[in-house]
Symmetry: C2
Subunit: 351 residues, 2 copies
């Protein structure tokens, strides 16, 4: 048992089902029970040093790693934090970057799961994802923009920019109210009075807040929001494009549009291009989020920046704290600020 014939190793690797080296393969090779292998691999007490060394040799020789699936099923915990999202798009990937950078060196693995097969607005992906992963596979979850009530779970959950749910999980979001107000006031400062709005997803709290703030900022400036200048863009570029086309083809069209997020701002810009409307000379556009693509656009998109990576990092900390039984705030809010770039300019002089 002090030496392993190489051909035995080969046999193990080339076995009919070479799809994975299991704990049984190791046990057989090492001539011990699976329980012993498990103890060695997990550093439990009660194994003779010689046996442990011997097992480790085989483990390395065979390249064994425990199946995360099997161990989590049995153990009930993994050291992995799940990030549940409706798809990998600029918003959620910024969050991911923040979480990943922040989790570096901590003893947790990250698992981002996109359960939405058809579409991120396939209702209920977040419920399904939680149900499928919670209790096994992940120890805690960060859910990006959930729009429905989440299943009750003992597993720590933190939401990012969620639907408003009084007894939902703790969540972090940015100050949409102040951000949207600042955006609108900036447009006002530029001399615009005809300011439209592309609304976001109405099932997300942030969209409602942004609309309300836009409306209030106008009212405070003594301007009555024109109902013809507000449309639903659903936070999506294509939808926003469609509705912006309509909005901009009216006789009396706005000279500035505040879009509820950057994607819809891009949709507005697409529509403006389509109609030959010059930006920012004839139309100012301001978005929300400041995804990297905002700065890449030509001209660069003026927008309300939220610190997405910081939001991710904060959410991660909250989940970890919950895991450790610490108390966490029910709600953490981070600031948003206007980033002035190339899609906004002074209001055109003539109607």
């Amino acid at each position: 048992m002090t030496d392993l014939p190489l051909d035995e190793v080969a046999v193990a690797l080339d076995a009919p089902n070479a799809s994975r080296v299991t704990i049984h393969d190791v046990a057989r090779e090492a001539g011990v029970s699976v329980a012993t292998v498990s103890k060695v691999v997990n550093g439990r007490y009660g194994v003779a040093p010689a046996t442990a060394a011997q097992v480790m040799t085989v483990v390395e020789k065979l390249g064994y790693e425990s199946s995360i699936v099997a161990s989590s099923l049995r153990r009930g915990s993994t050291n992995v934090i799940g990030i549940l999202l409706g798809g990998f798009e600029p918003f959620s990937t910024e969050i991911l970057k923040g979480i990943s950078a922040h989790a570096l060196g901590r003893d947790y693995q990250l698992l981002a799961y996109s359960g939405a097969i058809a579409d991120d607005r396939e209702v209920g992906w977040e419920r399904r994802s939680v149900s499928r992963l919670a209790g096994t596979l992940i120890d805690g979850a960060i859910i990006v923009t959930p729009t429905v009530t989440l299943p009750r779970t003992k597993m720590p959950i933190v939401a990012i920019d969620p639907y408003h749910d009084p007894d939902g999980p703790p969540f972090v979001d940015c100050d949409s109210e102040a951000g949207a107000r600042a955006a609108t006031e900036y447009l006002l400062e530029l001399g615009h009075t005809k300011i439209g709005h592309i609304r976001g997803r109405l099932d997300l709290e942030s969209a409602l807040v942004r609309e309300r703030a836009w409306r209030q900022a106008l009212l405070d400036a003594g301007i009555d929001p024109n109902p013809a200048w507000i449309r639903d863009g659903g936070y999506r570029r294509e939808w926003a494009y469609e509705v912006a086309l309509e909005m901009l083809q009216q006789n009396d069209r706005p000279t500035a549009i505040f879009a509820a997020n950057d994607q819809s701002a891009f949709g507005v810009i697409d529509a403006a291009h389509e109609l030959g409307i010059m930006i920012p000379e004839q139309l100012s556009v301001i978005g929300f989020d400041d995804i990297p693509e905002a700065a890449m656009a030509e001209p660069r998109l003026t927008t309300v920046a939220q610190p997405l990576q910081e939001i991710g990092a904060k959410a991660f900390d909250m989940v970890i704290d919950m895991l450790k039984g610490k108390h966490v705030e029910q709600h953490i809010r981070v600031p948003a600020r206007v980033v002035k770039r190339g899609t906004t300019g002074p209001a055109p002089l003539a109607g």
Copy 2:
């Protein structure tokens, strides 16, 4: 059995272990065996319509979703494609965006797993991740920039921009050779002759190729690459910063630097700022990748763009094809092209 008292539902939900509704809970509620529930949920034949309907009612009432862990352990397949990466950073998240957009509407879920706890250069994360997830949890994998030989598996694997391994899995990458050559030639066109290079990770094929192409382009122009003008940046901003500091403090410093990726280009720019060297007046910098951050920088980074999202989409298609037993190319290469922006300019006149 036609109606379920609400308090029974409540009991199920509030059970001591409310962490997850299992198939047993459903079976008990519905007064059938777990086998029957399983059949219903999976649409198997041999269940009376009435029973099926009854079970479905309970499933919905309880919000049951099968545990991906348990079912994959038993069934051996999951319909989820894993994307294994060393961390969520701009390069890998662009790939993710491409995969996600492309996978939309297909019947696969996506699971991105970051197994590197300490650092993306923690050697062997890709081997470990594959071992831990393969055979269970995921049906196929896309591995982003693996640097070591991967374990043998029956599970379909596609690599993106990998270490050169003759009997490694099929892979997709961009034409680093042509890209790096074009970058260097562009610098040459601008009149630069003193052109340095920040190398990438030497355990990645792309880094070697880019260095070679840079060297060859210089030789073809009758210029001998100065050994003092090449340093290892490991594809990392901080490392590149360090070595660029050294390189730029030499008496005879380059007037242009080709960095093996955008992150190292940023490192070079950091160093230049530190030293009060103006970009692009005194130093031209060109990167590689064209991550979104390249266009966000000030000035915007000139770089060699690779179609990262397309690369992801192609890799996804390959995995799916392999899953279906179709033949796939061993190697797919996509083009790279120089994107001229603000960090490059004519060579300064004086030494």
